[in-house]
Amino acid sequence: MTFSHSKSTVGVTQSMASRVLRLLIVCQLLYSTIAFGSVLDIDKEEEEFSEELLLKPLPDRKVLAHFHFQSTAPPSTSFGRHHHLFPKPISQLVKKFRVKEMELSFTQGRWRYEQWGGFDPISSNNAKPPGVELWAVFDVPRSQVDASWKNLTHALSGLFCASINFLESSTTYSAPEWAFRPDLGNLRYGTLPREAVCTENLTPWLKLLPCRDKAGLSALMDRPSIYRGFYHSQRLHLTLTGSSSEEVDSGIVLEQTLTVVLQPSSWRTGKSYVDKAHSQPSWSISSIFGRKVGGKCVLAKSSNVYLQFEKGLVGELKNLQKENANPETNKLASKVFLSNLSFDLSVNPDKVFEEVDNFHSKSTSILYEFSVEKYNDSHPLDLGLTWKIPVFWSCQQAPLHASRFLMGSGNERGAIAIYLRSTELSEGLKKSDIVDQSCELRVNVFQVVPWYIKVYYHTLQVFVNQQSRAVADIIEKIHVSPSKDKTSPGVMELILKLPCGLESAAINLEFDKGFLHIDEYPPDANQGFDIPAAVISYPDFHVSMHFSEDGSLDKSPMFSKFEEKSLVLSYTEILLVPLTTPDFSMPYNVITITCTVFALYFGSLLNVLQKRVGEEERFLKSNAGRKTGKLSQLLSKFSTKLRGKPREPQPSTAVSSSFVSFKLILKILLVAGIAICWQYYFG
């Protein structure tokens, strides 16, 4: 196991004990072959799987449920290895396309940064733009990255039953340099904003889990209740670990998360509040998912349910407690903080953790851990939260709230505006954090625009506090790769350097709408086209969540993920741009009419040029008559001799007609000659 090297002997013995326990269960349930395999590998590092569920009440009467499944495959020397737990398709994918890091997300709904928070690891890692987002870093030479990307999209498309293969076209993906993720070289990024996400994408995703949705926490995923939610994002993130040497295959960490925001249906508590409409609803696992946790997935190393009360809520609860209760209980509550005046938990937590706060703010978030191992089908876990008094709080927010919108009317041109508004909660943080540095707030903007939105980058305007500012003052760094028609999208990467006391900032870009070929429109052309979400990140701000160094929580992959410093990142809205359409029903009409006009031009002009009038005509005729008279006479003589009839004088009209026929014969001969030559030389 990866962590056992660095842990104390106590930890090792603990883990050994748990492993033996787990082995016994495995032996009971599975065939002995697998058990033997794991017995043989017992001294090596082995594949692991863990499942976790984080529940979190949100300020706007909703509940966030964050499932986190992690499978790891350690580095190994064997080629074509056999996997016990780790999904084989993923390891094949990694091997075949030499993926270094990859993230794929399917999302429905929009993450509301103002209500659900924008300054915690979940919002910066798991809040994704609607539709499909895929980015991947490859471990191949630069020239082969595009080919690898194309193959990868096709493989993923088959694996997840989605139209990810549309990302193959070079008009849909881009190669961001620094604004999307720092320090990466062979990165490709693509989104499909209009991809509909549903159960057919979830089922293959669940198939990668060792227990599928038959046991453990994933059994909670009742499709109707999951898709009824306000936000639904299933994500798959894989990274390579371990050695990068040639012989040893590097290990893979596959992280599968499902983040849903659900509205708990009104759960009877027996208590009625004065202000029912705005109070927090009470809920339980069975009320939001319609199912209960019937034990862990036996293959999982750890299986836990967590309930998190975030900073704002805890602060509010403490305030309420101070108001209501006497100081003695208050002191007690600092550690226990259970079943106090404001809320009730239906199940007693196994452990309680408190966040270790670096910023010395007045309250820290609290985490309750419920281990699923104790529960089974006959005695399922049904965690419930009952509020006794109405509580109001707000989430911690990113330094700025970003939104994006279109300006202008009509189908000829418009403008994209990104509007950044300062958030109240970040004011204090900004003051405490940046006062010692020079007072600047840096914002990265990464925006991909499809080629039919022809952006004029020279029209970039920056407004700070509603006043126009010189672009050079605000923009620290800019990288633009303009769109090429039918080849590549336009990519804009910016670093804005904003004064930190600002109220609002806006950047504005004008564009022309393109006109497409009739075949390039989708079937529902009049619905409009989507501009993928822009990514706004704050390079000076990182989030991480440290809970008390109790040791036992360090095992949790989810919280070790939360402890990693991650960039504060948010996505803007997807924009829907209506484009003008040609008349789809008339290609034939257009072709015929246009060709008629061309024929009119060609014919009439040629006619004018070769037309002869009046006396010219007569002059020519007389000339022709004089010249060809003898020839025709000869011809007629010849013909009469052949026929053996007496020669009769021909009328003048006959002369011209025979002349015409002679000309005709000549022409035919000429054409025949050309044809023969053609045949001879080219046939």
Partner: protein, 470 residues
């Protein structure tokens, strides 16, 4: 004589009054530019001539990228270095693109002056050749008005020219180059003609076909009635009474300013030499300005390639955009070839039939290419109508002129309406605008055909008169 001179002086002064009036009119419009919003009209700014795209290209160049990165800018790199800085420089309290507008106004005025000079040359040549043919009575009508003045005023006061100038499309500069080459050829300055031709070809490719009329202009001289007439007349004179004093005078006059009946190769060779010199020069300048980025090949690809492959399907006055938006992909290359061939096919027949009138030939070529080019704009039409003014006496008998006038007015009023209905209001569809484009193309065709036939008829009339005259 004195009265005539005074009259001339007065016409000259009135000409300059009109020129200044047109400049003032333009400046007024430049100041109301924002309200008119002309620069975004599809009739005014095509992907090739739009100043916004030029500004984008300049911005890309300034941020150390190739101006042709992306598919925004498709013009010449020289134009970029000439106009680019002007798009950025702003004078406090003045309209944004004032400097550019002033440059375009200047270009318009210079073109008008050059048209006038060309017209005067043409007129003197015309009257001389009529005198030679002893058809002086025809001249009487043309004495009162100078065709050069008419043409330059038509050019200056044409609403299309004004719109193209105020709407900040780069076509005034392209037009200037074309007119410069014609002027150079008319005044028999091969270097100037070659310069104009090379620059015009560099800017918009289609003027390349003008090499034929330019060579005729330099080889045969200015427009004249068919050479056969002179030959006949001379022979006739020689046969009738060789010893009479009047005929001696005639002979002298003939010798002095006879239109060259034979093709003179010397100026043509000069022209070709200068053309190669100038093109090498222009290409060298271009390669200097695009050296760091994509090189000359990228420039050709995104200027000439863009023109020839009709990549941009945004609506314009031409007939090709909707066709290529609708045509099936596997026919696309075929039709591209067919449509471009339509311009080239007509070069030879026209050159054979109109070789004695090279200026008119140039007008017809410009007209045809402005009609069939991939991204036509009102600027091209302005040039055509301006040159049309040069031949008002020859084309006096043209048919359907009133019909054509009404047609142009009607189409130019309807086209913005249909565009508005389709793009802005969404109540019409693409066919509305396409119909106006078709109608416009038809009027252009009628104008070309009728003017050609009128010119041929005029030659016939001259021949008839000279033949029937003893």
């Amino acid at each position: 004589m004195e009265a005539k001179k005074e009259e001339k002086c007065s016409t000259r002064s009135s000409f300059w009054v009109w020129v200044t009036a047109s400049v003032i009119f333009r400046l007024i419009l430049v100041y109301f530019h924002k309200n008119l919003n002309l620069s975004s009209r599809p009739e005014v700014s095509t992907p090739l001539t739009s100043i916004r795209r030029l500004a984008e290209g300049y911005w890309l160049k300034q941020s150390s990228m190739s101006p042709y990165a992306g598919s925004m800018y498709h013009g010449s790199p020289l134009l970029l270095s000439l106009l680019g800085p002007l798009t950025v420089q702003r004078i406090q309290g003045q309209p944004n693109h004032l400097l550019c507008s002033l440059l375009f106004v200047l270009a318009d005025v210079v073109s008008a002056v050059l048209i006038r000079a060309t017209g005067q040359k043409l007129q003197t040549a015309y009257s001389q050749s009529l005198k030679l043919l002893e058809l002086d009575n025809l001249l009487r009508s043309s004495e009162t008005l100078s065709s050069g003045d008419v043409a330059s005023l038509v050019y200056l006061w044409n609403p299309f020219t004004i719109v193209a100038c105020v709407g900040l499309s780069t076509s005034p500069i392209e037009n200037l180059a074309i007119i410069l080459s014609l002027y150079g050829a008319c005044t028999r300055l091969p270097s100037l003609a070659a310069f104009g031709w090379v620059v015009a070809t560099h800017l918009s490719l289609y003027p390349a076909v003008l090499i034929v009329p330019l060579i005729f202009l330099l080889g045969y001289g200015l427009d004249a009635p068919p050479r056969k007439l002179f030959v006949q007349r001379r022979h006739g004179k020689g046969g009738d009474n060789p010893s009479s004093g009047s005929s001696c005078q005639q002979e002298e006059l003939l010798n002095q300013s006879k239109p060259p009946l034979t093709f003179s190769w010397k100026p043509v060779m000069h022209f070709l030499f200068w053309a190669s010199v100038w093109s090498v020069y222009v290409l060298a300048l271009c390669s200097l300005s695009v050296k760091q980025k994509g090189g000359l090949w990228e420039m050709f690809e995104s200027t000439y390639g863009f023109i020839l492959t009709v990549e941009d399907l945004s609506p314009n006055m031409g007939v090709l955009w909707y066709f290529f938006a609708e045509v099936f992909d596997f026919f696309r290359n075929f039709f591209l070839i067919v449509f471009h061939m339509n311009i080239l096919f007509m070069i030879l027949p026209l050159a054979i039939r109109l070789n004695h009138r090279p200026c008119f030939l140039a007008f017809v070529y410009i007209m045809i290419s402005s009609m069939l080019k991939s991204y036509p704009s009102v600027g091209d039409l302005a040039l055509c109508l301006g040159l049309f003014g040069l031949f008002i006496f020859e084309l006096a008998d043209m048919q359907f002129s009133f019909f054509l006038f009404c047609g142009y007015v009607g189409v130019s009023l309807l086209s913005p309406v249909m565009h508005n209905l389709w793009i802005w209001r969404g109540t019409g569809n693409a066919n509305f605008y396409y119909a106006t484009a078709m109608a416009f193309a038809c009027f252009q065709i009628v104008l070309v055909v009728q003017s050609t036939s009128a010119m041929l008829n005029h030659d016939r009339k001259l021949r008839k008169l000279s033949v029937t005259k003893p």
